[in-house]
């Protein structure tokens, strides 16, 4: 039997740059300052959170009042939207419609995910719609007209998206042209390139190969087997719960404040209910579409990158204070260029996903409406237009709102004019909520 190796406590970690010299520790010759020895008393004005569920509820109320709305307005909005449409049409509250929403949200959701990175910098990318259309055209020309290997065509298409985004980011970061103008030029130019590529026919039909097959409407996780959806839900719940408890243990051993167990259990249970409910609903239709699986996996990766890596920290820092970031030794141009490259890559990926829904790359690929929907989704989901605040999950929440509305309007047979007006109204509402919550946060010292 072997016992797990234990780290000798108290020995300095050689990889820790701070373990050696500490300018704050008095040198051997000096008397230690008394203040260093006694921990300062806790500020009595600080509202300390109580342990347990009660404390969680109190903290939640305080956050809402302070303008930290988080996902709350979106979730409430979603429920209202679902209620309204269900009352109008009983077909709306069906598994088939849920499947429809989940399947059609992915393309725009990917555009929105790339935009979250850009919005975190406090910038905008108006070119994502055109880049997505262009990407579909590039893929179609390479794979169909030039008979390239489909996966190779996918890779080249994604690289093209990355290069386009990177180039726009370079012009913005290095030459100093406002991002709004650079990407507005891109909005027009890339649409032009797309039309030129598609040629006189205007539409190229795709073959169900490679990524296009995975993104298509009859591709389901594990072939639509009932177990597939539950396996995915199980992975999500176990992953979420395990990472929560592991972190709690790490923090407790290090002696820094940790989330109470009750809260972790509550969060995991809420997620479990949600995940298995969604799995059950989708199983009553055909299962989880593969494009949604890819989308969720990408969201998990992006969330990890933004919250757990130095790169993500740099993105937030540049979004919060450019000069402070520069002085901290962060290369602001590199962050900007890379973020636009990420946005371009997601635009290309979204373009492939959108094209797969119709199995064709056509002139409608660069529909300017796609751009507005993607921006709306990111903002509605709770990523601030002012930079420095937001999460990639807002792309998912926001696009759920948008697609729920679209599906409802489609079902009610409302025409495009009404659709545009309603989507515009929702975007405006989201921006107003963002601005108001920023104001409240400022006055309560949180922005």
């Amino acid at each position: 039997m072997s016992t797990p190796p234990t780290r000798p406590s108290g020995s300095p970690d050689p990889s820790d740059p701070l373990s050696g010299f500490n300018p704050l520790e008095p040198p051997p010759g000096l008397d230690p300052t008394p203040s260093a020895a006694v921990a300062p008393p806790v500020d009595p004005r600080l509202l300390v959170r109580q342990e347990g569920l009660r404390g969680y509820v109190d903290e939640f109320k305080r956050k809402v009042r302070g303008g930290e709305l988080g996902s709350l307005p979106v979730v409430i909005g979603l429920i209202i939207i679902w209620l309204i449409f269900s009352l109008q049409n009983s077909q709306y509250f069906s598994a088939a419609n849920a499947e429809f929403i989940v399947y059609y949200m992915v393309g725009l959701g990917m555009l929105a995910t790339g935009l979250v990175f850009v919005l975190l910098l406090g910038e905008i990318d108006l070119s994502v719609g055109s880049v997505s259309g262009l990407a579909a055209a590039i893929y179609a020309v390479l794979s169909v007209e030039h008979h390239w290997n489909a996966w190779l065509a996918v890779i080249v298409t994604l690289l093209a998206g990355m290069a386009i985004g990177g180039a726009q980011g370079w012009i913005f970061a290095k030459i100093g042209v406002p991002a709004f103008v650079v990407t507005l030029a891109g909005f027009l130019a890339w649409q032009g390139v797309m039309l030129w590529l598609l040629g006189s026919t205007g539409t190229i039909n795709l073959e169900p190969k490679a990524l296009n097959a995975l993104f298509s409407g009859n591709s389901y996780f594990l072939g639509g087997d009932v177990a597939g959806a539950y396996i995915l839900a199980g992975i999500a719940v176990v992953g979420f719960g395990a990472s929560g408890f592991l972190e709690q243990r790490r923090r407790r051993t290090a002696g820094v404040p940790a989330r109470p167990t009750g809260e972790l259990v509550a969060r995991t249970v809420v997620l479990a209910i949600g995940a298995f409910l969604v799995a059950w609903i989708l199983n009553r239709a055909s299962g989880v579409p593969n494009n949604a699986v890819i989308f969720l996996a990408l969201l998990v990766i992006c969330d990890f990158v933004l919250r757990r890596t130095t790169y993500g920290r740099k993105v937030f820092a540049v979004g919060g204070n450019i000069e402070a970031s520069r002085r901290a030794g962060i290369s602001v141009p590199m962050v900007r260029i890379s973020v636009y490259a990420i946005s371009g890559t997601f635009a290309a990926l979204g373009g492939l996903a959108i094209a797969a829904t119709t199995n064709a790359a056509g002139q409608a690929g660069a529909d300017p409406n796609n751009l507005m929907m993607a921006i709306a989704a990111a903002v509605i989901g709770g990523t601030s237009l002012f930079g420095g605040r937001g999460r990639v999950w807002s792309a998912l929440l926001g696009i759920l709102v948008i697609e729920s509305i679209n599906a409802g309007l489609f079902m009610l047979g409302l025409t495009l004019d009404i659709q545009y007006m309603i989507t515009g109204g929702v975007l405006l509402a989201a921006v107003v909520v963002d601005s108001l919550s920023r104001r409240t946060q400022k006055s309560s010292g949180r922005a």
Binding site: P27, G29, T33, V42, F304, F316, R327, G388
Partner: protein, 276 residues
């Protein structure tokens, strides 16, 4: 008052070579000649107070050393060899840590993230939040500042709390020279004393310190040398011991003849044992 580190401090001065020296540094902003032929020397274990009226060019000098501005003319000499500092990274890599007058913190990030910005601790390529938080708490405790939680955004801190965060930030890493641009401007009595203690501890560790302050009492309390800037030019360098406040104030305001004050300064050199 006896200074327990006077011995090591004196020996550091004796070997002569400054850690950081500016030779004839000039900096223009459009039509404003902010710095003209400025000379400055900092030795290991020496606290140099940089004083001067508002707009004298102190912050510009600091930012030139820190790599926020690049100098137009002159030389920055680090440990005897000329170096070029074009970006903040260059200065940090040399071992210069700077606390700016305009604090430069990211409001949306919490205290821990700000302290470690650009120097995050990582394990297996991911941020080691636990180690950073622990370390941040220790650092702030030493500065005896009350911050509600190291996990709240910097935006919700008071001016003085932000200042202490900025000071603590400069101590992460392994600096050889620490530059503090008006570090006590927004601080309470207790925290000011803590920062002055800190400056003495840094000197005790044989670090070079450049301290900018308008408060002559603070300057007199910790500085070994006082360098005066006036209208972007040197206006005398005085050893703190044996120099009266009147002399320094005269140099700041330009009310006396420069040659006379420099002569007076030379007459009292080398510096007497013990502090003024």
């Amino acid at each position: 008052m006896t200074d327990p580190v006077a011995g090591s401090y004196a020996s550091a001065l004796a070997d002569g070579e400054p850690v950081l020296a500016l030779r004839g540094v000039s900096k223009r902003f459009g039509a404003v000649q902010a710095l003209t032929d400025v000379e400055l020397e900092v030795h290991a274990g020496e606290v140099v107070a940089l004083v001067g009226d508002n707009g004298a060019g102190k912050s510009t000098l600091v930012k030139s050393i820190a790599g926020v501005h690049t100098i137009d003319d002159g030389q920055i000499v680090w440990e005897g060899r000329p170096v070029s500092i074009h970006r903040p990274q260059d200065s940090q890599h040399l071992g210069i840590a700077t606390v700016y007058q305009d604090l430069a913190l990211a409001d949306n990030l919490d205290v821990v993230a700000n302290l470690f910005l650009g120097r995050e601790l990582t394990t297996h390529g991911t941020l080691d939040e636990v180690a950073m938080e622990k370390r941040a708490q220790e650092l702030l405790d030493t500065l005896s500042i009350r911050i509600p939680s190291v996990r709240i955004p910097v935006a919700s801190l008071s001016g003085g709390q932000r200042q202490v965060v900025a000071i603590a930030r400069s101590l992460i890493g392994d600096p050889k020279v620490v530059i503090l641009d008006e570090p006590t401007a927004a601080l309470g009595v207790e925290q000011t004393a803590q920062v002055l203690d800190l400056v003495e501890r840094l000197r005790g560790r044989d670090l070079g310190v450049i301290l900018i302050s308008h408060n002559m009492v603070d300057v007199a309390a910790v500085a070994d040398t006082v360098a005066v800037l006036r209208l972007g030019r040197n206006n005398g360098t005085f050893p703190m011991a044996g120099t009266t406040q009147e002399t320094i104030i005269a140099a700041i305001t330009g009310a006396t003849d420069n040659a006379v004050t420099r002569r007076a300064a030379r007459a009292t050199w080398p510096r007497a044992e013990g502090e003024a």
